[in-house]
């Protein structure tokens, strides 16, 4: 798993455990012993607005924390890359030019699709999915990547493209 995948796992697990626990408390409150005090309806309705504001605040914080991690800008920046790579997908194979690149330097990739929608998935030598980008036929989809470790990177098609979609793979040699 990539670092981002771990971040997702931890954030998601914490949020889910808190949320589900709260709801379980609500369900438990319907047992006889809990029902002696009825909460005031007006109070609960006022709290609804407070809850709405809390949710908006949480979402704004999440937005602020993640909006700058969007890769679009850096992926489309064409300057300063030490090496270039052209990858074209067609049913059901990838063409990689050149087939060998160096590790540890910024690489500009120009991705294309010859026939139908494809998506490029790059798996590092440990099998972690380090990059995925979709491409519709007829456009150039650029992106930037630095291959951190030397070795064989597996390339798989990640957008459904027909009968042999799951066989559409190739490898990229990354040298030190």
């Amino acid at each position: 798993m990539t670092d981002t995948a771990w971040v997702i796992t931890i954030l998601y697990a914490v949020a889910t455990i808190i949320a589900v626990s709260l709801v379980l408390v609500v369900f438990r409150s319907t047992r006889v012993g809990f029902r002696v005090r009825t909460a005031s309806r007006e109070k609960l309705e006022r709290r609804e607005s407070y809850w709405g504001i809390t949710v908006v605040a949480l979402l704004v914080v999440t937005l602020g924390g993640t909006i700058f991690a969007i890769p679009y800008g850096s992926d489309q920046d064409s300057g300063g890359a030490a090496q270039r790579l052209k990858i074209v997908g067609r049913q059901f194979a990838w063409t990689i030019d050149p087939p060998r690149v160096r590790a540890g330097v910024a690489t500009r990739v120009e991705l294309g699709a010859a026939d139908v929608n494809h998506a490029l998935g790059i798996y590092d030598p440990d099998g972690a999915l380090v990059k995925q980008v979709n491409v519709v036929p007829g456009v150039t989809q650029p992106f930037r990547i630095t291959f951190e470790n030397p070795g064989r990177y597996e390339i798989r098609c990640l957008e459904f493209c027909g009968v042999d979609h799951h066989l559409m793979e190739n490898t990229l040699e990354v040298t030190p």
């Binding site: 006022r46 937005l63 063409t95 999915l129 491409v135 459904f160």
Partner: protein
């Protein structure tokens, strides 16, 4: 008071449809959608079993079944079911249908049934396997697996389901602005009132009684689905024309946006009516009114607008050079966040209605309670998907498949079951055959369902691609772990079917034996599950032993013919036939007939195909290329 008098007058004048006819209409929807559910569920089970190598389905058949399962479970079951139940929800809050709305509702029923039959025929019998999102231009680039005629007929079938959705929307809008509202004012005022504006602007949108909350989400989705379905209909019409006249085409990126302009709101065609069911039933079991103030009406106001402008989160991974797609996608992250509000506020309202109430834990109520938990569990996944920085990790993976099943089966699906358990007695005028069987149904579905969904989520985080007939072997263990849970889920639905049939036949479960029988029945179910699970795992072990592991592509260490054959099969086999490697591809020349020498093969691999020019250069490099060319020269024609 005026409105109520008007409603009464309308009823007396015979301008509303009798309740018995509405009952029959709703029963038709529930019956047909439940039948589609059993078929679509079995197809889904087959897909996962094929991925787990219990039964290996031919790839195109796999993808055709995947197309049928997706549309079948989503549209023909979940959407169709909530569409029908919505009419009953409106009847229960005393919104009678008028003749025009009733006619539209019947039109929606029949166009849906015909459309779904068309989808089944074109996928399962004509081989259309472009997946249920049929991304243009794939439907016309089938690699010889299905014809353009199949594509045209498939598009026409999906168009019929679109027509059904639009007719349903109009039927709902006709009913919510009808006599039930008790608002005498003009048509815009009636729409505003049905959207819950009366809770925000009390003086502007007057009604003779407080608007029942279940009406709001139904009105919201009724408006949005008309807007969302029209562009999809245009795309489908283009596809139908192209299937007859290939010179008519459409831009691929535009087509993708049109598809998702529909594809996002259609998710809420499931969720919003489900919320209406929650709003109706939770207060009933809590024996008090829904705890809701202004905020909930405001949240729905946000929803009706934002729902149709968040589609681009489905194309977060498309940002080609020189297009505005990247700005569009970025703008849609905060907009997608805004659509969290109706869910967040509704969950609050429902929870606070349950809070310290004298809650009646009927089977339907238990289904709803678990559905609220799933709403949170799956909804939080939705926030991750809405966040571009996270979505770039999970977008094309099994995580999305897991999220989807979590939401559609374990939230909305459970609400549908709750509605069936709650409403059927009034629709058919008899009690359920057995309540304890309903509980068995719930627990088998919940345990089986989460056993299915959680491994999908984990596989996705580990990078497992979605929509693969055969997954890379590193994901096999989790796929196989899923199978016992798939079987358990299926058993749960068998229990449901049995209970439903007994109820419809008018059987009554003898009360005093209930506890004993249900204990025995549960025990036998658990035993059956254990046996099936054990068998499944056992079969898997054997299967795993028989099928040779696929070597890492180009593992140059394996000089044997087996390794070369595997390499050939995975890289070249989809286009070239070669008996020795067991491949039958027909795109390129049959190598057993061609019998090329090693140099020619090596040249073709390095430079690409000489003939029609479709074989791309550089499919294999270095030692791998040498290995395969030597191998082909050695075995071709032998």
């Amino acid at each position: 008071m005026e409105g109520a008098a008007a409603a009464l007058g309308a009823r007396e004048a015979g301008a509303v449809v009798e309740e018995s006819r509405v009952k029959r209409l709703v029963l038709g929807y529930v019956g047909a959608s439940t039948a589609f559910f059993f078929v679509a569920g079995l197809l889904g089970m087959l897909l996962r079993e094929s991925q787990a190598d219990l039964v290996r389905i031919d790839p195109n058949l796999f993808y055709a079944i995947m197309t049928a399962h997706g549309l079948g479970a989503f549209v023909a079951w979940a959407a169709f079911a909530v569409m029908g139940v919505s009419f009953w929800v409106l009847a229960e809050v005393e919104f009678p249908m008028r003749p025009a709305g009733f006619l539209l509702a019947r039109t929606a029923f029949w166009t849906m049934v015909v459309g779904v039959v068309g989808i089944v025929i074109t996928t399962l019998f004509m081989g259309f396997g472009a997946s249920w999102v049929f991304l243009y231009p794939l439907p016309f680039e089938s690699a010889g697996e299905w014809s353009d005629t199949a594509t045209g007929l498939f598009a026409a079938s999906v168009l019929l389901t679109g027509v059904s959705i639009i007719a349903w929307c109009l039927a709902i809008l006709d009913t919510v602005t009808g006599p039930g509202l008790g608002s005498g004012a003009g048509v815009l005022n009636r729409f505003g009132a049905a959207l819950g504006f009366g809770y925000i602007w009390r003086n502007r949108f007057r009604t003779s009684r407080p608007l029942p909350y279940p009406v709001i989400p139904l009105t919201v989705i009724g408006i949005d689905m008309v807007i969302a379905t029209l562009p999809l209909a245009a795309l489908l019409v283009v596809m139908i024309i192209q299937s007859i006249d290939p010179s008519v085409t459409i831009d691929s990126l535009l087509a993708k946006n049109m598809l998702w302009f529909f594809g996002h709101p259609v998710v809420y065609l499931l969720l919003f009516p489900a919320v209406a069911i929650f709003y109706l039933l939770i207060p009933r079991y809590a024996k008090k009114e829904l705890v809701a103030g202004r905020a909930v009406a405001l949240a729905w106001f946000v929803a009706v607008i934002v729902n149709v402008i968040v589609w681009a989160h489905h194309v977060y991974l498309d940002y080609p050079a020189g297009s505005i797609q990247d700005s569009l996608n970025t703008a849609m992250q905060p907009l997608t966040y805004a659509i969290v509000l109706p869910s967040a506020i509704s969950i609050y309202s429902l929870s606070m209605t349950v809070w310290r109430s004298d809650f009646e834990w009927t089977p339907a109520a238990k289904f709803l309670a678990v559905a609220i938990i799933s709403w949170l569990v799956a909804g939080l996944q939705g926030i991750i998907n809405a966040t571009i920085a996270f979505d770039v990790v999970v977008h094309n993976t099994m995580w999305i498949v897991g999220h989807f099943h979590n939401m559609a089966l374990l939230n909305i699906g459970l609400v549908i079951f709750a509605a069936v358990y709650a409403f059927l007695p009034r629709l058919v005028d008899r009690e359920w055959y057995s309540e304890s069987l309903a509980n068995v149904h719930l627990w088998l579905t919940v345990i089986g369902g989460y056993g299915m969904v959680l491994p999908m989520l984990v596989q996705g985080l580990e990078g497992a691609p979605r929509r693969y007939a055969v997954l890379p072997s590193e994901y096999d263990a989790l796929t196989q772990l899923t199978i016992p849970f798939v079987v358990m889920t299926a058993l749960g639905q068998a229990v449901f079917a049995f209970n439903l049939i007994q109820t419809l036949r008018g059987r009554v479960h003898p009360r005093r034996e209930t506890v004993l029988r249900s204990l025995g029945f549960t025990a036998s179910l658990v035993a059956a599950t254990a046996i099936l699970a054990g068998t499944a795992l056992g079969l898997n072990r054997e299967g795993a032993g028989e099928s040779p592991e696929k070597p890492a592509l180009g593992a140059a260490g394996g000089k044997s013919d087996t390794a070369s054959a595997e390499l050939f099969a995975s890289t070249c086999g989809s286009c070239h036939a070669l008996k020795s490697a067991g491949t039958t591809g027909s795109v390129g020349p049959d190598l057993d007939k061609l019998r090329p020498d090693g140099a020619r093969v090596l040249n073709a691999i390095e430079q690409g195909g000489a003939g029609s020019g479709t074989m791309p250069p550089g499919l294999l490099q270095g030692e791998d290329a040498k290995l395969v060319s030597d191998y082909v020269a050695r075995v071709a024609g032998k």
